[in-house]
Structure formats: C-alpha cells, structure tokens
Symmetry: C2
Amino acid sequence: MAKFVPPVSPLAPKTVPVLPPIDGVTLATAEAGIRYKGRTDVLAVGLAEGTTVAGVFTRSKCPSAPVDWCRANLAGGRARALVVNSGNANAFTGKKGREAVALTAKIAAKAAGCRQSEVFLASTGVIGEPLDATKYDAVLDGTFAAGKADGWLDAAKAIMTTDTFPKVATATASLGGVTVTINGMAKGAGMIAPDMATMLSFVFTDAPIDAPALQALLSKGVKTTFNTVTVDSDTSTSDTLMLFATGAAAARGAPRIAEAADRRLAGFRKALQAVLADLAEQVARDGEGARKLVHVVVKGAVSNASAFRVAKSIADSPLVKTAIAGEDANWGRVVMAVGKAGEPAERDRLSISFGDIRVAHEGERDPAYDEAAASAVMKKDVITVTADLGLGRGTARVMTCDLTKDYVAINGDYRS
Amino acid sequence: MAKFVPPVSPLAPKTVPVLPPIDGVTLATAEAGIRYKGRTDVLAVGLAEGTTVAGVFTRSKCPSAPVDWCRANLAGGRARALVVNSGNANAFTGKKGREAVALTAKIAAKAAGCRQSEVFLASTGVIGEPLDATKYDAVLDGTFAAGKADGWLDAAKAIMTTDTFPKVATATASLGGVTVTINGMAKGAGMIAPDMATMLSFVFTDAPIDAPALQALLSKGVKTTFNTVTVDSDTSTSDTLMLFATGAAAARGAPRIAEAADRRLAGFRKALQAVLADLAEQVARDGEGARKLVHVVVKGAVSNASAFRVAKSIADSPLVKTAIAGEDANWGRVVMAVGKAGEPAERDRLSISFGDIRVAHEGERDPAYDEAAASAVMKKDVITVTADLGLGRGTARVMTCDLTKDYVAINGDYRS
C-alpha cells in the first residue's frame, strides 16, 4: 500500500504569529535521521539557570520511557535543557527504552553543561521501535551553544509527525507592572483524547514563578483546554505538556511569585489560558483527516462532570463524526450518543441544535425545524453541536473534528 | 452526495442454514412502504396461545418508544404477536412515537386476535422521524392468519437496514428426551456496542419454559455473545433481543420447565448459547464496511471484568481498527489501547500477539519477531489479537471488525 500523504488541513489557521524571543530560552533544531530523512527531527531548547518547570502527562498505564523520565525529574522543579525528537516515541521499548533515555540525558547534560536531573525529554512517533540514542552524540554537541532566541516556527516543525501544519501561539501579560511573554508550541493530530495533557506541547515564559505555583497553574489550565480535545478517543502513551519559566523578567522588575493564588497572577493566568486554548484548538484543527472543527456544548446536565461525560460521548461517537463529515444534520445520532453516555438524561426534555438551528425539542423534532437551514449550517467549516438536557445547570464544552475517509487512509498505513 | 451502497460483506457466511418450522410460530412479511420502496419492511410473527417471552434491551437513557412498550409488556410474560418494521426506528419521536406504538399494538391485537399486552413491537431505521402507524392498518389485517411455518430467511430480510446479508441460525436440543428446536434471526451492522442486547434479534423455540426461567437463560446468554460484540462503540436506542417459547413440544412429551437452574436444561442452554453466539458473530461479520473479523482476547488481567474493559478498549480503538484495515501488525496501538483502558496493566509484563505470532513480550519487541510472518497473519479474513497482561487470571473475549473507508462512506450519507 502506498503511504497516504494528507494535504494541509483546510482548518489550519490563516495566519501564523511571529513569536518574540523569551529571555533565557534558546532554540536549535537538527537532523538526526532517527526515522525521517531530509527534515529536522530534533529540537534542543536551552534554558537559563534558575528556570522552573511544571508538567502534565498521559494517564496511560503504559507510558513511554521519556514520560517516566520527566515525571521523576519534575520533583526537582528545575530545568536547563529540553530535548524532543520526532519519528520514534521510545514507547514500549522496555529496558532498551530506559537505556536510550539515560544515554540521551547524559549526552544532553554534557552538551548543555547541566545536571541530568535538569534535562527533560520527549519523543513522538512510532511505538515499540528501539531508539538509537547514539545518534544524539553527533547532533547535540554544540547545539545548545548555537541555540538562537528566534526560530520558534522551525522548532515547532521539528517535532511534527502526522501534523499538516506547525502549531505556535503567543501572548503577553502584565506581572506587577512588567510585561511578560508566553510562547507555546504543540504537535498532535491523532491518538488524541481528553483526560490527559494531549500530545506534545511546550510552553515558555520569562515570568519568575516558583515550580509549585507553575504546576498549579498548568494543572488547572489543561482542564478547559487540552483536556477538552478529542480527535479519535485514543490516548497516547507519550502525551506531555510542559511549562518552563526562566524568570528572566525579574531583571526587569517582575516580582517573583511563590503561590498560584497570588492575585498578581490574574493577567498571567488569563494569558496562559489563551495560549493553551489556542494550541489545543490547533490540535483539533489538525485532527487526522479533519475537514470540520466541531464544538460540542452540553447544557442542562445534573453537574459539570456529567455534562463533560455526555459531551465526550457525543464527540467520540463515530456515527456523529461521520454524519458531520457527510454534512448531514443527523441529530438522531446525537440522541444516541447522549443515551449511551450512561448519565442522567430524559428523552422528553432533550433539545439538540446544530449552530443556531434547533432541530429537536422536548422529545421530538422541533416543529419549526427547517432542513434547508440546518443543511446550510452543516456546510460550514466550524460547527457547534449543542445538547440541552433540561435537567440542571451542568455545562461542558469539548472540541473535536469530523471522521473522514482520510482518517482511515492516514492510519491504515502509518507504520508500514 | 450519492448514497453509497456497500457490497455484501466479504465476511458473510458461505452457507445459510434452512430453518425448520417451530410449532406455534407463523411468519408473514409485508410491504408497508414505511420508508423503503420495493422491498418488504414489516415482519408479523404469530405465536400460539401459551407462548412465554423474555427480553433484554438497550441500556440507552433515551430508548425508543417500542422498547418502552416491550419492557412494560414483558412483566406479563406472555406473547401472541410480534411486529417488527425496518426503515424507521420510532425513536426520539416523543408523544407521536408513543401514539404510533399504541396504534400499532391496537391494529396488531385486532389482527392477531389477542390482548395488546401480548403484542411485542420493534422498529429499526432512522431516528427522530415520526412513524405513520396507520400504514399498518392495510398490511396487518389478515397477515397473521396468512402466516406460514417456513420463510425464516424472508423474515430476516424484512428487518434488514444497512445489513448486507440476512442473519439466521438454528439448533436443536434434547429436553427430557424430546427434541426441541431453537431458531433465531438478527439484524444489525452499525451503532453496535456491547453492554446491552445488540440490535434487533428474535429467537423462537418450541420448548415449554416458564417466562422467569426463560428470562434468566436469556440474560445470562447475552453476556458472552451479543454483549461481546462491538462494531463502532455506538449504542442504539432500539436494541432488542427477545426469546419466545411456544411450549408446543409439551404435546410431544417435553417437560415444562419452571426454573433456569433445572438440570434438564443443560442441552437447551448449550443450544441457545450456540444460536446467540452464531447470530452475534454474524452481526460482527456484517459490521459496516468490515473486511476483517477481529477476535480480541485479553488474558492475565486482575479479573474477568478488568479483562473485558481492556478488550473493549482495544476493540473500540479507531487506531487499532484502522491498522487492521491496513493489514499492519501495529502492536504499538494495542499497547496504547491497553494503556488507556484505565485498568491495572504493567508495561514490562505485557505480551501482544497477532494470530500465533507474538510480536511483543515483557515490555519490548519480541526478539523472535518476524515481520513477514506477522504480515501473513494480517492478510487473513479473521484475525485474533491477544494481549496477555501477565498480572492475574482474568480473561475476556470481544468480537469486532476493522474500520475502513467504507464505514465512513456508509455513515457519511445515511439519512440524506
């Protein structure tokens, strides 16, 4: 079977922001030839002394070797180097995987002039293939020293696998009257589901924030951003989201923050949410084979948690997703997905809308339902499906994409 | 978009059994024109006086009007008529749906000469469209009287929707030295997941078994048959499996059975299991767009329940299913699906096989792994995926099919 190469997603953002430098962060990419030929596949990020770090990882019971490594190092709260490769996930590689991680960290610590406990690693790509870490020897030596303050888009490109476009986002905030910057990048297109930090994403700031506070901000931030995205309900063994704070803005007078509850963080928290939300939406927009971005909104549930489970059931339903791919306002399948979620729901109180068009109300087809108007909504690139359960005040939002033949084509011949 | 008409599943059974008559059961089909043109869309089954009945239904929180009707009538334990239509599920049709069911039951009771509480109804097809039950007036009158003891295959055809072949099965058993017969039919190809009685299936026997015992047999029987099938993880609002026992074999000396634990049921139980398993497998073989039948076997889990959840996670994973469609022995995706199930699993104890080929063992690729041998297994029509968690003695089996572009084609333009 010939490998199917998908075109750039029609849902890709029309403009890409230019990310400004962040004091204390240097970027370098390299071609290690781990799996891909003729493209960069390694990203090496140098981080200034004093950089704090936070992370959230896959909840898979079979995490990759780099995830295990990062979890262990996170306890120290300090980071000096981040090394990411694409093409090989170093997952389910057993003892060889642990050895590859240890060797990579050793090479990186030497190259960056830091302790191994300050090195963070991430890998993405095929599962189960041994990763030859000796390839890092040639590429990492001198790489950190040669790192530049710009080149964020190149960095995002180096970590892509089945992504059809690089994903970056930026925002600024005022911290004690000083402007701080947040830059982020992400990769991910398939094997994506909520309930973890989805795929690989790395966010950097010059704000001086202690590690425990940074962790609290990040753990809260993913709940309404990355954890609300599902492409195919499949959870990667490698999902990693890390937030690095160099603290360089302290030199410009930004106050050091020790507590996540500090009121001076209001603006930073909002900016961080914006960056995380932007990156998460880009992941959904690059869902494998996606032609439509779908917002699923559930209202009137008995609780927010119940609403989330119903929203996830709708967003993960292959029948709902194929109907949207077919531009078919098939609300019967939404009823089905509500019904199978196992959450409190009463048929005779349920209302369903596509965009502004309410198609079903109180247990039957809306008397005012207009098929032509509904069809017009279904032709759009971005579609909101709303289910109002009519029981309580619980609400939730989940983002997903449609399920197309290209999803099957992309995944029916990935490894071979 | 032109409607995609799939070819007959390549996994369809090569031979179809001829079902013998069952004393007390008469079959008739009709063209009511409910949705389809030029084909039968109504099945009317007459049942002799004294027929007992058992049923299991969808666990959807939004069940169809006919499911509500059957659940209510099941308490009486007696059946004289079964009316099934295809083309319209009469689901999420609110008050109109309840009225349609009431009118259908009234017409059927009059035509069959029985009480409405002895009428059972099932509908399958599009959700949310009002069902015009007045169409039954013309077709049911005289239909029960004209019913025949044969024509089981025609009966199975009348209840098909996106099925590509009719599904029937038969078996005999000895009950107190007297041969009794079990005949069954099923329909279902998509919107299929375990944890309920999948899709529509009707099973008939001449064995004299009281309703409570019949119900116990059926409820136990689905656990290892229909409830282990998943095509797309989507649960229908209409799923119905009913078992009717006319008791006519009593005239030939078969003993009347009051308790499911009665030892004389041993042979009957086995034959019933065989019929249910046969029908359930046929449903998986007709999974929408299916090219491969997939048996997922999980061993070594901490419990059978845990094994089942892991098996379901593997069987429902779009990435596992597309890999199988692509004939790719991509065991990394099986690892992913084990990991996301949320059940106890240890990467370093996990073994994964495709057919006889063990591809992964104790946390890494099996040293003896032979890609060519694995590829040969993947080319087969029927593939067994085995995950041995290496933790305990829990086992489970789930049946599914691959996920192909045809699944998307079939479901991307079903309703329009």
